[in-house]
Amino acid sequence: MNISEKTINNYKVLSLRGMLNASSAPALKTCVAGFPDEQSIVIDLENVDFLDSSGLGALVGIARKKKASKAIMKLARMNERVKKVFEITQAHTLFDIYDDVSAAADA
């Protein structure tokens, strides 16, 4: 899985490409751990082909840590494949989900 990073306003925007599963989830966690705790982030899921429970678990873990440090974590651009997983696990209630990266990186 590929993680490309850019900064918009006060947010670090991480665009993921590929599969977010048991083998690639640690890479995402390490990447986020590389920023200070109070750094707000947006994770762009548009090019995620596949998401399983460990990928979802990684996202939930990041969300929890950010909330504890009073930082903001948002998700942007859910595609159909990712949506299915969120629907079954009812995880959409845990995140703020935007359909546009610049909107997410705005407030």
Binding site: D52, S53, K84, V85, F86, E87, I88, T89, Q90, H92, T93, D96, I97, Y98, D99, D100, S102, A103, D106, A107
Partner: protein
């Protein structure tokens, strides 16, 4: 022009309690699912795309409306947090709202409109801002303000839906005076009488207008459908019974010699809209729900599964007949009977789960040939199980969401999780099984069964 529909779960939670089994947004108003009124209205205002946003589950709504091609609009779905206010929701859907004008319908309310009016031109000229509001919601228009804007009169109104009494009076109001304003399902040769397909009405039955009757309805001898009644789909009204000023929801059986007056009958629930009292009827000959049969589309699938199962039975018959007695005598063949959820809502199936000790060559051979599933193959022929699908879920009273065919659950001999070599319990299993239930087809199922047979031995 686009439409954004924003409804919070707490706004329709009361309807979920009153009428369980149907998603509140799909509850029929005069036999037309609630959400369809919104879709119709959006189309009349000239919208090309609609997005439905809620903090609750929209799966059932999504399965019903799909991508909107049925109405010629693009329908998409989004989520929100319960605490989100309208500006936040608009932000979260900025890409969608990047159009010139967006009509935002917020709240669980009913919009009274008239299909005969030209809303497209009207909406093109209305000023931006909140057009109408009531305590439970509002209709807003966003986008650039047209220069020739003036506060035009608003030819539509709102009714908040927050109690079953309001729902009932809304249905009655539409029945009495607004039927021609909406696209109501059914055939109608007169203004206030709509009847669906496959409706059986004997000579002795009496029907008084205004009335709406759905599809597959059977009225038996001497029944009376008095004024202001709505009968849903798949309803049977038994002899001598009288339905007056009442709403009979889908899949309901009404017994003989009964009088349903100013009530809502939904399956085995009888509801008095005025007081909000609802009783669960325990007598099946008074009032009961009708079990839905499996959809026709799955018939092909079941035939293919049955054929494949027959093939497997024939191939494995000799090994089974030879190995089963031997292993049974050796005590290596263990059987447990357990009850599992079936795919039809409310039904269960009792299966014998077999485990084979495979420490010795004979046991290993039996396991390689999947002989422990042999007896279950016969259940595929009788239609109780699928060949490949979900692993059967044992009855568990603590389960929050009971699996049934509305979520795609089909208990089977082999599971997709086995085929894909995934762990057999837990969330990953659900994800795989759900994916293939949605994206599968009968031929793919055969391939997956072969994979399952292969994978079980590695």
């Amino acid at each position: 022009m686009k439409t954004l529909i924003v409804i919070r779960e707490q706004e329709y939670a009361w309807l979920r309690d009153m009428l369980p089994g149907v998603h509140p947004l799909l509850v029929p108003v005069c036999n037309k699912p609630f959400i369809e009124f919104f879709i119709d209205f959006s189309i009349f205002t000239g919208s090309k795309a609609i997005r439905i946003i809620s903090d609750g589950l929209l799966g059932e709504v999504e399965r019903y409306c799909e991508n909107g091609s049925r109405w010629g609009v693009e329908i998409s779905y989004g989520s929100m947090q319960p605490a989100d206010e309208l500006p936040t929701v608009i932000d979260k859907n900025r890409r969608f709202c990047l159009e010139e004008r967006v009509l935002i319908i917020k709240g669980f309310l009913f919009i009274h409109y008239d299909k005969k009016r030209d809303y497209t031109t009207l909406f093109a000229s209305l000023p931006s801002g909140e057009l109408l509001s009531c305590c439970h919601g509002s209709i807003t228009l966003t986008g650039t303000v047209k220069p020739e804007s003036s506060s035009a009169d608003i030819p539509f109104s709102l009714t908040a839906l927050d109690t079953v009494g309001k729902y009932y009076s809304l249905c009655m109001e539409i029945l009495r005076s607004e039927l021609t304003n909406y696209v109501i399902p059914g055939y109608s040769s007169e203004a206030d009488c709509y009847i669906g397909r496959n409706v059986v009405i004997p000579k002795s039955a009496e029907i008084k207008k205004p009335v709406i009757i759905g599809n597959n309805v059977q009225l038996l001898a001497n029944t009376v459908i008095d004024t202001n009644s709505v009968i849903g789909n798949n309803v049977i009204v038994d002899r001598e019974s009288i339905i007056s000023g009442s709403i009979v929801m889908d899949n309901t059986y009404i017994g003989e010699h009964l009088e349903v007056k100013n009530k809502i009958a939904a399956g085995n629930l009888l509801i008095d809209p005025e007081s909000g009292t609802s009783i669960v009827m325990e007598d099946p000959h008074l009032l009961t729900g009708m079990t839905q049969s499996r959809a026709a589309g799955t018939l092909l699938r079941r035939m293919v599964h049955a054929l494949a199962a027959t093939f497997m039975i024939l191939v494995l018959l000799w090994p089974y007949l030879l190995l089963r007695p031997v292993l049974g005598l050796q005590g290596k063949w263990k059987r447990v009977r357990e009850t599992y959820y079936n795919d039809l809502p409310g039904k269960t199936v009792t299966l014998t789960k077999t485990t084979i000790d495979s420490d010795e060559p004979l046991g290993q051979l039996a396991k390689t040939l999947s002989l422990d599933r042999f007896t279950l193959l016969f259940r595929v022929l009788s239609g109780k199980l699928a060949l490949i699908g979900y692993h059967p879920v044992p009855i568990n009273p603590a389960l929050r969401i009971i699996p049934n065919n509305t979520t795609g659950y089909t208990p089977a001999v082999f599971s997709y999780a086995e085929a894909e070599d995934w762990p057999e319990i837990g969330i990953d299993t659900e994800i795989v099984e759900h994916y293939y239930a949605v994206h599968g087809n009968p031929l793919k199922d055969i391939a997956m069964t072969q994979k399952a047979l292969f994978n079980r031995n590695h």
